[in-house]
């Protein structure tokens, strides 16, 4: 029976997703972490904008003293660098949801003890408490898995400092599987950049010269400058070969002094 005659209504399903391209990259160093992304947002073959922000710095208030030390600080060392890549509407929604959770968590942690119960705070500590990276990561898992059957179509990467002050990167699949890693790329350029990072960050397939490929090159932490070079190389390379990556590169660096950001132009073609 032809579908036009109404006996069998034609199923026209609304597609609630789109692919907005782009690439997201996180590297953890010894006492710092980097989260970087390109700033292009596209759909099909159209560039929506050359300056969109896929990374949000979720930070406690930046104090005047911190600003004095360096003017370009955009977050404290207790910040969570939150990046999403994929379907941008879901990315924005997830970022907003996490931010909300983060704010309430920090608020609850720091809210004063009820009058008459001060003895509970034995040492009378005034220390401010923040959300640790591992707690942030677990919370993101819950947010993602909460929509297991109508997923947020995004690859999520968090970067920050762990409770020992070491750099850390957490990466998530769309439904909340996650892992702490030294480095991770998400999004359109992931397949191009990931092997490069295996090679240059974790020294995969590198052996000590003269040992006839019997002794692996030992893994060691890279310096911040080395990491930034890798990030820029990775993005210029993937810009060359992937159509949805380009326009600009936004890099966030978190260390004991706080968060600062860099912007570099990428090719606009």
């Amino acid at each position: 029976m032809s579908p036009q005659h109404g006996s069998q209504p034609i199923q026209h399903q609304f597609n609630p997703y789109s692919d907005n391209g782009g690439t997201l990259l996180g590297i953890a160093g010894e006492d710092f972490a980097i989260l970087a992304s390109d700033t292009r947002q596209s759909v099909d073959y159209s560039i929506n904008t050359r300056l969109s922000h896929k990374i949000k710095v979720i930070s406690p208030p930046v104090t005047k003293e911190m600003k004095l030390e360096s003017t370009d600080i955009v977050g404290t060392k207790n910040s969570v660098l939150f990046g999403t890549n994929g379907f941008s509407a879901d990315g924005d929604a997830l970022t907003k949801a996490f931010e909300e959770n983060w704010k309430w968590y920090v608020h609850d942690q720091n809210s004063n003890v009820e009058t008459g119960f001060e003895f509970l705070n034995e040492n009378n500590e005034e220390k401010e408490s923040f959300m640790s990276m591992q707690s942030a990561a677990r919370n993101v898992q819950h947010l993602l898995y909460g929509k297991r059957f109508f997923p947020y179509y995004v690859h999520t990467i968090l970067a920050g400092l762990d409770e020992e002050g070491k750099g850390c990167v957490y990466s998530f699949d769309p439904v909340g599987s996650y892992e702490r890693e030294q480095c991770r790329v998400g999004g359109a350029g992931a397949s191009l950049i990931m092997p490069f990072l295996d090679n240059q960050v974790n020294f995969k397939n590198q052996y000590i010269p003269g040992t006839n490929s019997t002794e692996r090159r030992k893994i060691e932490y890279l310096s911040l400058d080395e990491c930034l070079k890798l990030v820029k190389d990775a993005f210029t390379s993937v810009t060359e070969r992937h159509i949805t990556v380009g326009d600009g590169l936004e890099i966030f660096i978190i260390d004991k002094n706080g968060v600062r950001s860099e912007y570099h132009a990428l090719k606009k073609d």
């Binding site: 191009l192 995969k204 990775a234 993937v238």
Partner: protein
């Protein structure tokens, strides 16, 4: 199982790079049937005189195409009484593939060689219906072509000496293969210079 992409059943990759008076071409050694590994000695690079061609894609088509090109290369030698130039071979491959425009071989070859007259390195790649991509830097092909593109674009620089080119192409191949479940299981690198060709097997992960 009923509908599958023929070009990703067997798995495997090939990459070629130009250097200073030298050219290199490399491949992995795996032959698989989807996720099942079948052989770890499946060399994808074949030699025709001084021209080297790597075949990725559907293994049966790669072999058929290779045999057809061997036949055509022999006829060429018989007719012309000389070896074939890489650029000429590239055009021969192109027309061979295009003959099957509407029922193509599911193979994407890569050519590498030195031009006899000028000594210039030559590399070229194709899609499965014969469109030539004569790049001046590098050519990648196979199931980990995305990974190879990323590696090559980041590691490659022009006019490398043969020792450095060897290291570059090897690292590009190895790290790309390690991020592809159906590539790897050994690797071979050919380094082609004016007066010698060396073939090196690389140590790779075996998973």
């Amino acid at each position: 199982m009923s509908q599958q992409d023929p070009s990703t059943i067997n798995g495997g990759i090939v990459v070629a790079m130009t250097g200073k008076d030298c050219v290199a071409i490399a491949c992995d050694l795996r032959l698989g049937s989807q996720s099942l590994g079948v052989a770890n000695n499946f060399e994808k690079i074949h030699q025709y005189g001084k021209v080297f061609i790597g075949f990725t894609g559907l293994a049966t088509d790669a072999l058929t195409l290779s045999a057809d090109l061997k036949y055509k290369h022999n006829l060429y030698k018989l007719k012309e009484n000389r070896g074939i130039q890489p650029e000429v071979f590239a055009n021969l491959i192109s027309s061979t593939l295009y003959e099957k425009r509407f029922g193509p071989y599911f193979s994407t070859p890569v050519v590498a060689g030195l031009s006899e007259k000028t000594g210039e390195p030559y590399v070229a790649g194709f899609d499965c219906i014969g469109c030539i991509d004569a790049a001046r830097d590098f050519i990648v092909a196979g199931t980990a072509s995305d990974q190879l593109f990323g590696m090559c674009e980041a590691l490659y620089e022009p006019n490398l000496e043969s020792e450095d080119l060897f290291e570059t192409i090897s690292q590009a191949l190895l790290n790309a293969a390690d991020r592809d479940a159906i590539s790897g299981w050994g690797a071979a690198v050919y380094m082609i210079t004016k007066d010698k060709v060396t073939k090196t097997y690389l140590k790779t992960r075996q998973d």
